[in-house]
Amino acid sequence: MPMAKALNAGLRKAMQDDAKVLLLGEDIGPLGGVFRITEGLQAEFGDRRVMDTPLAESGIVGTAIGLAMRGYRPVCEIQFDGFVYPAFDQITSQLAKMTNRHEGTMPMPVVIRIPYGGHIGAVEHHQESPEAYFAHTAGLRSVSPSTPNDAYWMIQEAIQSNDPVVFFEPKSRYWPKGEVDLTASSAPLHSTRVVREGTEVTLLGHGAMVAVLLQAAEIAAQEGTSVEVLDLRSISPIDYGPILDSVRKTGRLVLSQEAPGFVSVGSEIAATVTERAFYSLEAPVLRVAGFDTPFPPAKLETIYLPDADRVLEAVDRSLAY
């Protein structure tokens, strides 16, 4: 099934398993959300558990905090990545710090779902990758699935977490289909996974980038280069074990993300890998990222967003050291 359906199934399962799980967001009721992720859920669970809210993102997150204080497990939908900023205070100064401020007596099981990233030809504010803002904030967890199977399981695991989780859904991957194992999760929520084994260069990315990295690895293989591909899955905290293992094997790491490179998730990983695997590195850690510009008008997005060619250019640079 496609990721959109997997997320819908995961939300349904979470709501069936726990009556305290609520959904809040704009247009998530009869319409099923602008991406149809919540399609049919209000009909099944009623408008007390699937709430169409007023159009106010700070209001959505702020009331979700109050609902969590009351013992609910709210799942907020932010309609598009660029619309999350009106909720920034409630997410970073309130939600993130609430457990700390309460000295551990107040868990904050709130999930904030954000469809993010480009490749959909949309207007301004609809194609951004704001994950670094949230990864920078203590008290939040952030994850991003790249496959329907991960989406199905990770959304349920995020809802079960007693900490707030910002859940980044790569909207360009909503519709490609993939196998979903409905019987068991294949990995913990906060784990990096090797998705293609190789020996000469490690590629690492999350969300929609993983498909691009696999495409690059396939081309590289045809050209005689063995590339290992890792799916980050968890943006915060980062599971460094598999990353360091891979770098110790290949000696080369190329990071890729749609987000701008400056002060980004890629910057953080590059610094940490350099600190922790310095003597294994044969080349500097390289980043392939969105440019440090506003996300451009849609007709330029294929230039802005890293593609397989830009990843392979970085692979060549890495191998040239």
Partner: protein
């Protein structure tokens, strides 16, 4: 901004009951109060003021980084505080020391926060549901509204039984009314018809900016645009604060939707100990409001009812003892352990936090070992 014909007043500045068409609806609620309850209103106002003065002194002596005085606002807080019922949840801003006192918070916990020992200080469920202070203006109005939505989802409001139906009271100030979160909270409260009382203490000044800069209309009119009934009361009249809060809160809890009270009061002190109000307000304005001080007004009322000199003398002594106790306990407060900053960042284990806590412990221990070696 001062009282107008629209301002509900039950107790005149002279300390006599106001008989009017407007007050007639509320006076029966006052008539039900016992002598002991009226004494308690006065007791909390007087003790809170003594606490407040002591805390301000402690700040000036370097024992606290900051103090946030509530002087002048005791009637608004005490009236609304005693109007709540046991099952209610209270979301304060950061100046509601009298309400904290009423709900059983050890106000030394407020001192601990402003001394730099904690960001919170108490557990709401152990203190009659008085939640911790919020410092970002208006943020708590959304938390309160979400909590009230949860009460409604739990079917714990709206049955019509005032002894069991739950409600939420949220406190905020005139400055906060300009924050988007307050407007969003009013939108959500109206949409979901929450069992909730919005209690605005209009103390006239948002640090140095007067309420006239926040609003061109009286603030009690603002909720009507959201479909929420609002009323303006004399916030220095503890009986008006009690009666209006009691009525509105019971309407909210029994399913009639959210309510809004603007208590017109005055911040006699500074915004905080870092503020200097002489730079932006006149002596005449201050004198006007000092003459409307809620505590002497209520004392006149109680004396008019025949309260004895002994009651007031004992209360003065009690307040002084309370302040002295706060002073002694403040001076005895220690410093939190270093590792505390890492505890409870998350509810569940987190590798970055665990690593950094362990690193710091080793780093600190390394100095101890070096010292021992020498």
């Amino acid at each position: 901004m001062s009282y107008t014909e629209a301002t509900l007043q039950l107790l005149s500045p002279a300390g006599t009951i106001v008989e009017s068409d407007a007050s007639a609806e509320y006076l029966p609620l006052i008539e039900k109060l016992t002598d002991a309850e009226l004494q308690e209103f006065h007791r909390v106002m007087v003790v809170t003021r003594a606490f407040d003065h002591e805390a301000a002194n402690l700040q000036r002596q370097g024992q606290m980084g900051l103090w946030v005085p509530s002087v002048g606002q005791e009637a608004a807080q005490v009236g609304s505080g005693f109007a709540m019922r046991k099952q209610d949840h209270i979301f304060p801003s950061y100046r509601e020391h009298a309400v904290a006192m009423i709900r059983g918070v050890d106000v030394l916990d407020i001192v601990r926060m402003l001394r730099g020992l904690t960001h919170g200080g108490w557990v709401a469920e152990d203190h009659n549901n008085f939640h911790i202070y919020t410092l970002v203006l208006g943020s708590q109005t959304l938390h309160a509204t979400g909590y009230a939505m949860g009460i409604a989802l739990d079917d714990k409001s709206g049955t019509g039984n005032v002894d069991t139906d739950e409600a939420v009271v949220v406190y905020f100030g005139d400055g906060a009314t300009s924050q988007g979160d307050v407007s969003e909270a009013l939108v959500f409260a109206a949409s979901y018809q929450t069992p909730e009382l919005f209690f605005l203490q209009n103390n006239q000044w948002a640090i140095s900016v007067p309420v006239s800069r926040q609003s061109r209309t009286p603030l009690y009119l603002r909720p009507s645009g959201f479909g929420i009934p609002g009323i303006q009361i004399d916030g220095n009249d503890v009986l008006a604060s009690y009666a209006a809060s009691r009525k509105y809160l019971d309407e909210a809890r029994t399913g009639q939707g959210p309510r809004f009270i603007e208590a017109l009061t005055y911040r006699i002190g500074a915004h905080t100990s870092s503020d200097d109000p002489t730079k932006y307000r006149t002596d005449a304005e201050l004198a006007h409001w000092v003459a409307l001080d809620p505590i002497p007004r209520f004392e006149k009322y109680l004396r008019g009812r025949g309260e004895s000199d002994a009651f007031f003398a004992e209360l003065t002594a009690e307040a002084a003892d309370f302040a002295a106790d706060i002073r002694h306990r403040t001076l005895a407060l220690g410093i939190p352990p270093t590792g505390k900053m890492f505890d409870h960042v998350y509810s569940e284990p987190h590798p970055v936090i665990d690593d950094q806590k362990a690193w710091l412990a080793n780093y600190e221990a390394s100095f101890a070992e070096n010292g021992a070696a020498e």
